[in-house]
Symmetry: C2
Subunit: 467 residues, 2 copies
């Protein structure tokens, strides 16, 4: 195991403590996993609070200043260690609530009776996010026991509503920017690139989601009697959707690519080295090939290029057999994935400018704007990313790869915008951990490595001169 030399002489002892308490830390995780803190189901309301109380007690024992913050929904657990002059401040975000466990009959062992099989602990929340979140709590515990104090100030923000849309977190952030002020945010709620390939996710795509409703005649018509004599909204829908994107995947919204930041050579090089096999990917998806924007690899297209996807279509008769209907209405849901520097509002304006002139006589167009959010990246040169890479190397014995993610995590944008902090997405999970599905699991080796990496992270971050 190659590990960069610790900055703080205590780190070695801290890591040793982590190693020695491996079983204890697994038992602590099992204790938390036994609490069915399902935020979506009011029948579990008391259990959700029990999980929050467990955390409050646990964090208090570690020596942190802890608050249980009431919201209209489930409480937020907030804790912090004392400020350390000259060192940066880190904010850990996580959540103690879990997805509903249904369908129950597909679990091999009960969702709230954590069970170890093949080195993994199986339970709802094992990976998402109790197990991952707890790695940071346990590393703080180790530092606290071994060194008596932390090398930097760490703040913990652990909510109970992540699985139901983080409804009350945004206002808590807005009202507590001073209290939460920090230099970097640490989130462990994603995955490694692959088994044995730990990763730092430093970029996310944004989204601009729309619903298009086209209305033609005031009622469904007989397509024999009227076909050819009235504008068909379903025909028009196909025409309009195809006007948005050509058959090469190139998006036709005016100005769409104007603000797109190119992928850097360093990134392309980094991703080219990733263990990604196009053939394996295709066979796992059951397809005989893929199409996409020319000149880019699949990972580049998914992570760092904008895209357009129809998410839903509905019109006329969808039942069995044939019905000769000329439908009165046709609708589509569709979304653009945006890359950093693209502005969702500008996309909306461009989309209207594209579609409105295409609306033929006899069709009424209604464009509904759903949620939009910008893409985001954190600079690969950020000292916090460098520190995290060193820490992961200490914890996992391998230097992490730098990846992006094609989806959006709105809370990451909120942290970045409200706190002006770089966000470190340090995922300890695996892609097959069955998040939101039966038989959710988390590798106990990854749990242990994550605690080690987190312990090293406090050391490495503390070495950064506070700006």
């Amino acid at each position: 195991m190659t590990t960069a030399a610790p900055v703080n002489p205590a780190l070695g002892q801290v890591l040793q403590f982590v190693d020695e308490h491996r079983q204890q830390f697994q038992d602590d995780l099992a204790e938390l996993l036994r609490i069915p803190s399902v935020s979506a189901d009011s029948a579990f309301r008391d259990d959700v609070r029990r999980a929050a109380d467990w955390l409050v007690e646990h964090l208090t024992q570690i020596g942190l200043a802890v608050e249980l913050v009431e919201t209209v929904g489930h409480p937020i657990v907030y804790a912090e260690s004392p400020p350390v002059a000259g060192a940066p401040v880190a904010l850990v975000y996580g959540h103690y609530d879990v997805q509903p466990p249904d369908p129950l009959d597909q679990w091999i062992s009960p969702p709230f009776e954590p069970t170890v099989r093949d080195g993994n602990v199986y339970a709802r929340g094992a990976c998402d996010d109790k197990g991952q979140m707890l790695t940071h709590v346990k590393s703080l515990q180790a530092w606290s026991r071994v060194a008596g104090e932390l090398p930097l100030q760490v703040k913990l923000l652990i909510e109970g509503e992540e699985e139901v849309g983080s409804e009350h977190l945004e206002s808590f952030l807005a009202e507590n920017t001073d209290k939460l002020s920090c230099d970097c945010v640490v989130i462990s709620d994603t995955s490694q690139f692959a088994p044995g390939v730990p990763a730092i996710t430093y970029g996310l795509r944004g989204i601009a989601y729309y619903e298009l409703h086209l209305t033609g005649p005031n009622r469904d018509l007989h397509s024999g009697v009227f076909g050819g004599g009235v504008t068909n909204p379903a025909n028009t829908l196909a025409y309009m959707l195809h006007a948005i994107v050509d058959d090469q995947g190139w998006i036709q919204v005016p100005g769409f690519y104007d603000d797109v930041l190119p992928i850097s050579e360093r990134e392309r090089e980094e991703w080219r080295r990733l263990p990604f096999e196009q053939k394996t990917y295709e066979s796992e998806l059951g397809v005989n090939g893929v199409t996409g924007e020319a000149g880019f690899s699949t990972l580049e297209r998914r992570w760092a290029r904008p895209s357009f996807d129809v998410n839903g279509l509905g019109s006329g008769y969808q039942g069995e057999g044939a019905k000769t209907v000329l439908p009165a209405k046709a609708s589509a849901k569709f979304s653009f994935r945006l890359v950093p520097n693209q502005n969702p509002h500008k996309i909306t304006a461009g989309l209207k400018a594209l579609l409105e002139p295409l609306t033929p006589p006899g069709i009424r167009l209604e464009l509904v704007e759903h949620h939009g959010g910008a893409g985001i990246t954190f600079p690969l040169e950020s000292p916090y990313l460098e520190a995290a890479a060193d820490a992961i190397e200490a914890g996992f014995g391998k230097r992490p790869v730098f990846m992006r993610e094609g989806g959006s995590i709105p809370i990451v944008n909120s942290f970045s915008e409200r706190l002006g902090a770089d966000v470190l997405l340090l995922g300890w999970g695996q892609n097959d951990d069955n998040l939101h599905s039966p038989n959710e699991k988390f590798s106990l080796a990854d749990y242990h490595r994550g605690i080690r990496a987190s312990a090293a992270l406090w050391d490495r971050l503390a070495a950064i001169k506070k700006r």
Copy 2:
């Protein structure tokens, strides 16, 4: 009232008989309308048979040779008068079954208690088809009573399964071509062009109906994680549908227009004179305009030009709000309306030739062919059409217009193909008679005029030298 002079001296008395028995004939219609012969609902099975029996008795009293032909479903009533040497043979087709009356609560008077309001009789089946079919029975009755014999042989084929797809009629036709042999077929089951504008429908469009299924990945994917990195079947569907028809309504299937017969100058001239107001049409449909094939009027597009309509679309998420799904499948139902001389099988071949090369990597295409049928016209110069026009003038006091219809009536093609006879579509109904809807009605004046026109038709047809 301008009426061409009768060929048979008895016609004057026959028409007088019709006028004198107006109330009696209305009572007879009411009697048949009281029988709820709903063919689709097995609860009405005995009533359907009761309607058939009523017809058998009624036709026997007129002096026809009558058969009740059993089928696996509802029986067919067949009757014929004696052959008349040197005169042509006419076959009347109609149906005694009716649509279900639902929704019952929207009927002003009960569907099977015929009620007269404003000169219309309201009841299920009043127009479709008991009232219209009975005009021919009553005209035969008048001829029989007044002249003791008919001036030509008339055959009657009245089925009880028209509203459930005429399932057993086709095999009856196939097995009885000799028995049914005739020179022309008379069907009164359509509408006049407008109130006071009686019409002969001499052409119908055909149809080629398809279902297109596109399959992409083996499961729904997250559109953020995968968007841009996998071929989206819903995007592809829009692309393919738009490849079938351009935004000017011009169909792109190779060879599609090769066999299309042009509209004759006589037809265009005839239709230009019809009381059709584009603005009224649009406002009745609630649209601010229509699009369609350039160089053709709305009636020309609906009656005599081919068209392409998407009949249904389905893919991904169609519920409320936004779901970031990249759907595994996308489907469309669509159909072409064909004009005479176009062959549905040739269209299928052209469609495959168009779509298969457009199928991108990552998409599996499945094209399902539903029913197809050719368009059909009968020559405006046909002596049978001329005879029918004279007869309508005698019955309605107005010369009929010659129109086509945009939909298909498969049985018309069957009669034409199996019997080699011209089919006269002599509709006595109105467009607002609420067929298949609550408050179906039939104008008693049109019922009476229809009986007169039918009586005159036997006279006029008899004058045609048998070929």
